[in-house]
Amino acid sequence: MRKYDFTRRSLLKGTALAGVGLAAPTILTSKSWAANYLNEPTGSTVTFGFNVPQTGAYADEGADELRAYELAVEHINGEGDGGMLNTFSSKELKGNGINGKKVVFVTGDTQTKSDAARASAKRMVEKDGAIMITGGSSSGVAVAVQSYCQDAGVIFMAGLTHSNDTTGKDKRANGFRHFFNTEMSGAALAPVLERNFGKDRVAYHLTADYNWGWSQEGSIKKYTEKLGWQTASAVRTPLGSGDFSQYITPVLNSGADVLVLNHYGRDMVNSLTQSVQFGLRDKQVNGKEFAIVVPLYSRLMAQGAGENVKGIYGSTNWHWSLQDEGSKAFVKSFGQKYGFPPSQAAHTCYVQAILYADAAQRAGTFRPSGVGAALEGFEFDGMGNGPTEYRADDHQCFKDVLVVKGKENPTSQFDVLEVVEITPRAQVEYPASLLGGELGPYNDGV
């Protein structure tokens, strides 16, 4: 009869050997050994992650962003009419994908909530293998997702985010923004306000009480006070107030002759509608016509305010009525596919997708540090905003800014705003150090 000596030591040895044996086949295919960077595409496709609000108050804007991304993917892959690829100054993209790989995409729902946006970005990176995350309709979301992408090691191409912080104190090496910011809005609007309303004005601010609102209020105050305007009061209003009448009634007899509404989206629609109801647009104060200013306009949302936007000044990143070749090509492409013109959110998202694709093509890699280096300092034209530069110091695009006014005689439901001035890039440029923050090093995710 055979006797087996089965000791604790032999069990441990055996288990260790079995572990090594089982792990051996996987060690060569493990991501950490095989990949040069996170989610390096190994097949015939590369995956983009479109993180947009699909539910919540900005769902319509998110839907427009998604339409633009789908169009961009079509154009990158050589389908459709090519859109702005035909007018883009860089001719690296040939309509056969990027670096020989067709682009596919996955989508996530930010819900316009930072935690939900981070979670959906994480899911797209970790589960779906997204090489780049892009989209969004809020600065809070942009800052949160940008921070996640930096930590994870993928590029983040911001969607609609207007707060200075995105490329200011919260900037990150892996994050890039095409959209303008509150500093640029202030710099672009101030001269137009001076020409139309003069230097002797008293402004009253109603400000959405969160990061973007404070940023917007600060910039407009800074530039209007430089003109000689006084600030009567700056009142913070809770986000999503609905009825702003209790904040508007104190304006009536405050002595102010300008009301600045630092509100966006639904808040903007409601505060503007109610301000007009209270007769502020037609009021006379200090012998002058009362004025209302909406520093950040969104055509998509201004439609919600209807005729109340008439004659109200503001700024915007892009407008479909622009007559440059790039804008015309994009509006034609988008309009023919969907039956209506694109919003500024759709435009910035489309451009961001194309810019990423072009940078990856020029870099010959999807490695974040390689794509980032290709984007840094990149100068381009033909994308609807005139000559533009992705500044290396803060990953912020610098380009002309549009000052718009609510149209008096709209010809359609989309014809809400008219461009009154294209403020040249030089007038809105500022030193990168002004807004603070540090880019830090790139993270390739390995």
Binding site: G56, A57, Y58, A59, D60, S233, V235, P238, G240, G242, D243, S245, Q246, Y247, T249, P250, L252, N253, R266, V269, N270, T273, Q274, Q277, F278, G279, L300, M301, Q303, G304, A305, G306, E307, N308, W320, S321, K328, V331, K332, S333, F334, G335, Q336, G339, P341, S412
Partner: protein
């Protein structure tokens, strides 16, 4: 002084909306004992009745003009509303008055929605704990919201007041202030008067009709009314419908003040519950008084002079008042003994 008067007016029109929604909530709670978290959604559905009526009135014959092209190269669409083509100036007037005209449509629609909600869902939860009632009605509110969003989108939809009611009313001239010092939007005053009318009508209905008498008796002692051979459940179903109509009408007339979107009901829901609790659970006069009171207090708390002393007070004042009142009068301002005191 003019500032104070303006804030009182402001509180009254805001309070009108709170009171109307809280009134419906209280009616449902007082009769059926159900905590209805879908009540804000009924306010929103009322508002979307106005949106739908306007859209129907503006239904247009669409022709294309091949001589004009859109920016994307397709022929421009020319829209001619049928109603204007058929009725001329009267059609234009009807479109202009679409918000008040919506009341006629909203009453039967909201009554039907209310009855369907009660018969189809709420009645199965009468004997369940309040926590389950809250969960099911809150879930229903989310479902209704998402249905509206899928049909109308997420963005607010403008609903202008009729041209004749768009101007301002100069109160200063009426009450001895300097002319032009107290001016207030006409539509908001109309809304305040409208809310008083609806509140008066509900009270008159409950006070002076046999139906109302039975309902009040049922609110006091449901079992005894049942023993008298009266089908109180059927009457309570109609009461639920009436509460839905009140919330719906509040929503219809509020659309020129707040461009409707799918989420507007939720904004009012929490405030309305606070109003009901402050007024006293199950007390109809309490809901009305608390609605106007909290509207006015909220307006005063938003004055710069107040906020300079207590920053952020405008955002918490309603809840502070609720805490103080519940500490001093645990049944609320006009609460009845025995309600929610199992």
């Amino acid at each position: 002084m003019d500032q104070i008067f303006l804030q009182v007016l402001n509180g009254l029109d805001k309070g009108g909306a709170y009171a109307l929604i809280a009134l419906g909530l209280t009616i449902i709670f007082g009769t059926l004992g159900v905590v209805n978290f879908a009540h804000g959604a009924l306010f929103m559905l009322g508002a979307f009745c106005a949106v739908t009526v306007k859209a129907l009135l503006e239904t247009s014959k669409v022709t294309t003009d091949p001589t004009q092209l859109t920016a994307w190269g397709t022929p421009v669409e020319v829209r001619t509303p049928y109603i204007e083509a058929w009725l001329g100036d009267f059609g234009t007037l009807l479109v202009d008055f679409s918000v008040p005209a919506s009341i006629i449509i909203a009453i039967p629609v909201m009554l039907l929605i209310g009855v369907a909600m009660e018969r189809g869902l709420i009645r199965f939860f009468y004997k369940r704990p309040h926590a389950e009632q809250i969960l099911v009605t809150f879930g229903l509110a989310i479902v209704l919201q998402e249905i509206v969003k899928s049909q109308f989108g997420a963005n607010p939809i403008p609903q202008p007041a009729p041209d004749a009611a768009k101007g301002m009313v100069d109160f200063g001239a009426f009450i001895g202030f300097q002319a032009g010092s107290v001016v207030y939007p006409a539509w908001r005053l109309i809304y305040f008067l409208f809310s008083l009318m609806v509140i008066g009508a509900v009270f008159a209905f409950l006070q002076f009709t046999t139906f109302g008498m039975v309902v009040r008796a049922g609110m006091a002692d449901r079992e005894t009314v049942g023993l008298l051979g009266i089908d109180i459940d059927r009457r309570f179903t109609i009461v639920f419908g009436i509460a839905a109509v009140v919330a719906g009408l509040a929503g219809v007339m509020y659309t020129p003040i707040l461009s409707p979107d799918y989420h507007m009901g939720m904004d009012f829901l929490v405030l309305s519950f606070v109003v009901v609790v402050v007024g006293g659970m199950g007390s109809l006069p309490g809901a009305v008084v608390a609605g106007f009171l909290l509207g006015i207090v909220q307006s005063f708390a938003s004055m710069n002079e107040v906020k300079a002393i207590l920053p952020g007070i405008d955002q918490i004042i309603i809840y502070l008042i609720a805490v103080v009142i519940l500490l001093a009068r645990p049944r609320g301002l006009m609460g009845r003994k025995g309600v929610m005191e199992a």
